[in-house]
Amino acid sequence: MDLFSNLALGFGVALSLKNLALCFTGCFIGTLIGVLPGVGPIATIAMLLPITFGIDPVGALIMLAGIYYGAQYGGSTTAILVNIPGEATSVVTTLDGHQMAKQGRAGVALGISAIGSFIAGSVATILIAALGAPLTRMALLFGPAEYFSLMVMGLCFAVVLARGSILKAIAMILLGLLFSTIGTDLETGQERMTFGFAPLSDGLDFAVLAMGIFGFAEVIKNLENPETRDVVRQKVGRLLPNLAEMKQSALPIVRGTFLGSALGILPGNGAVLGPFASYTLEKKLAKDSSRFGRGAIEGVAGPESANNAGAQTSFIPLLTLGIPPNAVMALMVGAMTIHGVIPGPQVMTKNPQLFWGMIASMWIGNLMLLIINLPLIGLWVKLLKVPYRLMFPAILLFCCIGIYSINNSPVDVAMTAFFGLFGYALIKFGFEPAPLLLGYVLGRLLEEKMRQALIISRGSFMTFVERPISAGLLAVAVVVLVVALLPSISKKRNVVFTE
């Protein structure tokens, strides 16, 4: 019954008028920056950090956390409406979400992603409260070898993501992997593939790549024939999912929540894999997988739940161990230390008000986000009615501001423009950008973890199969790959036979 008294303490803290106001402020700012393409939670939290100096640590962290998970809610909005993923975790949402918008079901897509996110957020909050500490111990079993195998599994998912040719999808994944090796080598400090160009020495930024090949390229493509783009805006349709759509989404939301929660706990930003894994699972479980990529609601409900669940559970390593699993959490560590709270295993016992207050505020924040987001859907959908000649300069402008704000670097903006042209070429040749982004996101971790594992094992590749968790993950990867490739192989055989 400790849990209940702790939660009571937490809600006591989180429900104070001031903390409610701070939670709302955080969620609202988070929604806004999530909606603005390119402006990510990292830049925003860094900018707002000094403003929180005057607030007590609990309030400050409640607000900053609100910005983070609020951005996950908002990020899906741009993915659905304008096909621009604001975060690595919303790449998958563009696949079916934007298709739904094109069919006049933008409201339904936004609605289901808000509802799915709320359910996922609530479940994940309970997980953190009830099982935070034991889950942390389990996550510590994940060493470099396990992580490498997990990434291999993730890459096999990417093959399934492809809407068209599997060969082209694999080519895109490999290109993404190649892009991820640009920059300073972690082990030796040598520069690779930078061609002596200093801004490349830290590698490509995810936002630069994503805004370029998704955002800018999409704008160029739409400008090519503005008529078709303007057809989309005529159809608005219902704003909320109906009962049949809710039923269709129920199980994907549940599955997405658990996949996302499990991957979110892992150190080293396992949360990015959640939406990809969920999408793959839903596509495989669907009776008619050909609907995916053409506006299947499960392809929005599952991944959106997974990404929000992952965003919440990635607080677990931070809160129970004091070790940040990703860049946003590293910023939260900074925020804690600036406020005089030393992050570490002691936070739970030394600052129970902070620990439980934050957890309680996460649930309250999710409820607030649902309340903020549902009425906003009408507004977002109306945005689609804005003529494209007015929309696209605004999209480009916000993208540029967002990209500039990451590193305060004009070179990044120029590089995004370059990737815009590159992405346009990809669209023209029928290559999908989503597998490229997944390859890019996983590539860096893949290489890093493989080298770490091999250094630890003194160069023995057996380490990946000798360790049981790692071996299990590799086995799943093989199964996924075989299942993905078999239909296309058998189909080709049929083609051969009919000729």
């Binding site: 200093a198 070790i323 030393i342 590193n407 250094i455």
Partner: protein, 331 residues
């Protein structure tokens, strides 16, 4: 020390003369607009935290806001080079640290700045002692056993660090050079967080890093501390013996963060900044916030320009050979 301050004086006079009357008038009004303090690392990191805590109080003394700007890249050297080339008007400063100023010359052959001659030192803002830690089930229980184990098991021990050029990397290179076991399996991680995660998880054997990062895990028993590289024990870790107690007195190294301006900063501006830094470090609230992190507050000498210059020169000399011998070279 006198030679150094005289040299700075001379530099200041020369610059004041070259700028003429306008420069002097501007300096009198300093600061009349917000000051940018660059942090060459991501927000939330140890350097950023110290910069924010110290600059908050310095802003009060100076009557102008100090704005922290985080521009990370190439181990912090890009931003450091940018500040070195900035106008010496006191509105562009950098929170430098051991990596960007003491270790960079040995690591980056094409470094675009000289950490001593291209900067005007203000003073050290915080010192973060280095502690040697192992995973909790490591066979050794103290520094003597640790050194003996390393020597007896060459090639069997894995050391984690936070990337080439990081404090964890630099201080460990010095340690292994001094012990005489240079051929260790060094596992690079992207930052202290992931490295520490795998140390707590028992995937790697040991690391050296700043107390600020390690104290909570040591106190919780998630990792074992072998020794702390300071002359005396630290109040936050009273049970951790010093390296001298553990039979390795030559291993004396601390991470530090210090404020630098571009070279040729006028003397009166430098004085104002030194004064503001001193007031910040003497302020009980600021002082306590830094101390709670495990940061050692620099003494009167270290927080003055000449004192920081001396620390910088000492560390460059100390780290140069071990780093070059380690074969790690950035671009």
């Amino acid at each position: 020390m006198t030679i150094l301050s005289r040299r700075t004086m001379f530099g200041a006079v020369a610059v004041a003369a070259s700028l003429g009357f306008a420069g002097a008038a501007q300096a009198q009004a300093y600061p009349n607009k917000p000051i940018t303090m660059f942090v060459a690392f991501a927000a939330g990191g140890p350097t950023d935290v110290i910069a924010r805590i110290v600059s908050e109080h310095m802003s009060k003394t100076l009557g102008q806001q100090i704005v922290i700007e985080n521009v990370a890249g190439a181990g912090g050297t890009t931003t450091t080079a940018r500040v070195a080339a900035a106008a010496p008007d006191g509105y562009t400063l950098i929170m430098g640290q051991m990596g960007t100023h003491a270790a960079a010359p040995a690591l980056y052959p094409n470094l675009k700045y000289n950490p001593i001659t291209d900067f005007t030192p203000i003073g050290i803002a915080g010192i973060t002692p280095i502690v040697i830690v192992t995973k909790k089930d490591f066979p050794a229980n103290n520094l003597r056993e640790f050194v003996a184990y390393l020597k007896a098991n060459p090639g069997k021990v894995n050391q984690a660090h936070a990337g080439v050029g990081s404090t964890a990397f630099t201080t460990c290179v010095l340690l292994t050079a001094q012990i005489g076991v240079p051929k260790l399996n060094a596992v690079a991680y992207r930052g202290t967080g992931p490295a520490l995660n795998d140390l707590v998880g028992g995937q790697v054997d040991f690391m050296c890093d700043q107390v600020t990062n390690l104290t909570p895990q040591i106190l919780a028993g998630n990792i074992k501390a072998m020794g702390i590289a300071t002359p005396a024990r630290l109040p936050v870790l009273p049970n951790v013996p010093t390296t001298a107690e553990g039979g390795l007195p030559e291993y004396q190294i601390s991470g530090w963060n210090g404020i630098f301006g571009p070279k040729g900063l006028p003397k009166d501006i430098q004085d104002k900044l030194v004064d503001a830094l001193n007031k910040a470090l003497e302020d009980p609230t600021t002082n306590k916030r830094l101390a709670d992190l495990g940061t050692v507050i620099p003494n009167a000498q270290e927080r003055a320009p000449a004192g920081m210059a001396a620390v910088l020169a000492r560390d460059i000399a100390l780290l140069d050979k071990p780093l070059r011998d380690s074969g790690a070279v950035g671009q």
